[in-house]
């Protein structure tokens, strides 16, 4: 109370007020100081965050293009001084069988300083990956400040950051200082975050690249074309199994570019073509290249990285089958011309004769010539119809007109139709029919056409004294029909191709017995359209044995 009454005196009031003011000012200053301190921390944190964002922003796109840890570390070093006060930033990186030591100096330090840093990094490597020490450091360099041999400065603080990509230890990154500047835990954490983040991204990119490479590898390996890729030094970088097969080489032995040159030696100047592609950047190719009994197409393509040609790809394609087909087409065209020309020549010659000599000819001569014209027209029509049938079958437009019919009756009719022809050639022609076969749905006319093809072939290729037999058999759900002869057989290599267009399985000795080669193609198309199957078997004695089946519906 005495104190309060004392305060009432004006002097003391002033002193009291001043005291309160001082306390208030002190409190305010403390608050301001606290705020300033918090603000500085925030600024420092913000600065670190910005650095982290900036460095990762610079590094990640480079990772995508260069994939190299060295480039990434160089970028980190370039920006490091923004937040860390260091003297030297160094790395030791293993690259294949070699090891690289690189240092960036911000101050002139002695060679001993660098040796000390290197020793500290090697000690770290020795503990983490002792096996890596077998690799000698065979590339050393430094950038930034020049070395200063007069400098007595020693390493006071340093930090080692291990570098791992794809779970593989690649080396160590080191930041050192001649002063006690590398002690802030936030700076150290930041350094680790930046390097490990870059390594993580590099790992992701490498995984992606590996994945794409694997996909590409599988694709190249599964290609039927031979694929070969060489670099500028003519080293074979990629070679697929098809390449070994095409060149008839054992895949267990490595092929070098000289083996490839040898293979094409004398028929194709591959070396010259490759050199031209490197020089001009233009694709070089050759087709229908004959080596031994095979035909090849060889394409030499430049492989570019941006504008630079970094290698050459060689694509080797086996064209033998295409060439075979091409030859078949040419033979077929020649044969068709011949087949069409023969009856046409008869028609033209005979009609010319009739026009010129009509008045002088006897009626029976005129009748004979007219019959010749008719027969040739029928033959011509037959060829044209065969072409049309084959065309319909090829385009899947074959139409069946099924009705309940008797297959044995059809076979008997066919037998009767060809009997005289076979007998005239001295062929023993017979049939063996399974009478248990009931009538069923099929296209009578089309099956007759199949029988015509099979029987006319058998008669054509069976000499006098031979035999032809027609056999039918009931299998419950289907019937089989066999036309077996003792004539000229079909070579094994032709059996698979026999039902393909343009192929004649049995070679005729007589030019007048040649055919269009479409008969069996048409027969297969008809039987297939019925849901049956047609094939050729070896005849037990000799000759051919054609069998087809028809489902009973």
């Amino acid at each position: 109370m005495e104190f309060l009454s004392a305060l009432k005196t004006p002097e003391l009031v002033v002193v009291g007020l001043l005291l309160i003011l001082v306390v208030l000012l002190l409190l305010k200053n403390r608050k301001v100081s606290k705020l300033n301190s918090r603000s500085n921390v925030q600024k420092s944190q913000l600065s670190r965050k910005l650095f982290e964002l900036q460095i990762l922003g610079e590094v990640i796109p480079k990772i995508s293009t260069s994939f190299g840890i060295r480039e990434v570390l160089e970028d980190i070093i370039g920006s490091l001084s923004v937040v860390v006060n260091y003297t030297a930033a160094s790395y030791i990186i293993f690259d294949g069988n070699k090891a690289i030591f690189k240092s960036h100096l911000r101050e002139g330090v002695s060679k001993e300083y660098l040796e000390d840093i290197k020793a500290k990094m090697l000690e770290s490597i020795k503990l983490v990956a002792p096996n890596s020490l077998g690799k000698r450091i065979n590339e050393e360099s430094h950038s930034g400040h020049d070395l200063n041999d007069l400098s007595k400065a020693t390493v006071v603080t340093y930090v080692n950051v291990p570098i791992c990509i794809n779970n593989e230890y690649l080396g160590v990154f080191n930041v050192s200082s001649i002063k006690n500047t590398l002690v802030d835990p936030e700076d150290i954490k930041l350094l680790y975050r930046v390097v490990t983040s870059a390594c993580r991204n590099l790992t992701k990119i490498k995984e992606l690249v590996e994945h794409e490479k694997d996909k590409l590898q599988v694709m190249v390996e599964s290609m039927s074309e031979g694929v070969l890729m060489i670099d500028k030094s003519f080293r074979v970088l990629v070679i697929n199994p098809a390449c070994y097969t095409l060149m008839g080489r054992d895949p267990n032995f490595t092929i070098n570019i000289f083996d490839v040159f040898d293979y094409f030696s004398g028929v194709f100047p591959l070396e010259e073509k490759i050199a031209r592609v490197f020089a001009t950047g233009k694709i070089e190719s050759i087709s229908e290249l004959k080596i031994g009994d095979k035909y090849y197409e060889v394409i030499v393509i430049p492989v570019r990285n941006k504008d630079e040609i970094i290698g050459v790809g060689i694509l080797i394609r086996d064209q033998s089958k295409e060439m075979e087909l091409k030859k078949l087409r040419q033979d077929f065209t020649a044969m068709m011309v011949h087949e069409l020309r023969s009856p046409l020549s008869v028609i033209k010659g005979t009609s010319d004769l009739l026009i010129k000599e009509f008045a002088n000819l006897k009626p029976e001569q005129i009748s004979m010539f007219m019959t010749q014209i008719k027969d040739s027209s029928v033959a011509l029509l037959g060829i044209v119809n065969q072409l049309l049938d084959a065309s319909k079958i090829e385009s899947g437009k074959i139409e069946l007109f099924k009705k309940v019919s008797d297959i044995n009756q059809i076979l008997t009719d066919e037998f009767n139709y060809y009997y005289n022809l076979a007998r005239d050639k001295g062929i023993n022609f017979s049939f063996d029919l399974d009478l248990s076969i009931q009538k069923f749905y099929f296209d009578e006319q089309k099956i007759k056409q199949v029988m015509n093809n099979l029987l006319s072939n058998s008669i054509k290729f069976t000499d006098g004294g031979g035999a032809i037999v027609i056999i039918s058999k009931n299998y419950g759900s289907y019937v089989s029909v066999t036309v077996q002869d003792t004539g000229k057989g079909v070579p094994d290599e032709m059996k698979e191709k026999l039902f393909q267009k343009f192929v004649q399985g049995r070679e005729s000795d007589r030019s007048n017995e040649a055919g269009t080669g479409l008969g069996l193609v048409i027969s297969k198309g008809i039987v297939d359209a019925h849901g049956g199957r047609i094939w050729i078997e070896d005849n037990a004695s000799k000759g051919a044995k054609f069998i087809f089946t028809l489902p009973i519906q």
């Binding site: 930090v159 080692n160 291990p162 490990t196």
Partner: protein, 76 residues
């Protein structure tokens, strides 16, 4: 190793070579169960030493990646 202080000291010593003393001690100081002197010597280890050593190594791995586990794996 029966002596907890010695075991933890060994781990920190190895990591000091791998990462450098500053980073190795910074991590060690962040483990509550480990008491360090100003000079960085281990003074005391509280609780189960196996748990503490695992926590310490986990923190090294968190900072610098799994490769730093190799030199100290046999202590765990």
């Amino acid at each position: 190793m029966d002596n907890p202080v010695k075991l933890i000291s060994e781990i920190i010593k190895k990591e000091s070579v791998v990462l450098g003393p500053v980073a190795a001690l910074m991590v060690a100081r962040s483990v509550e169960a480990i008491t360090l002197s100003v000079q960085g010597d281990v003074i005391a280890v509280k609780g189960d030493v196996a748990t503490v050593s695992k926590e310490l190594v986990a923190k090294y791995v968190e900072l610098a990646g799994v490769s730093v586990k190799t030199p100290v794996e046999h202590y765990l």
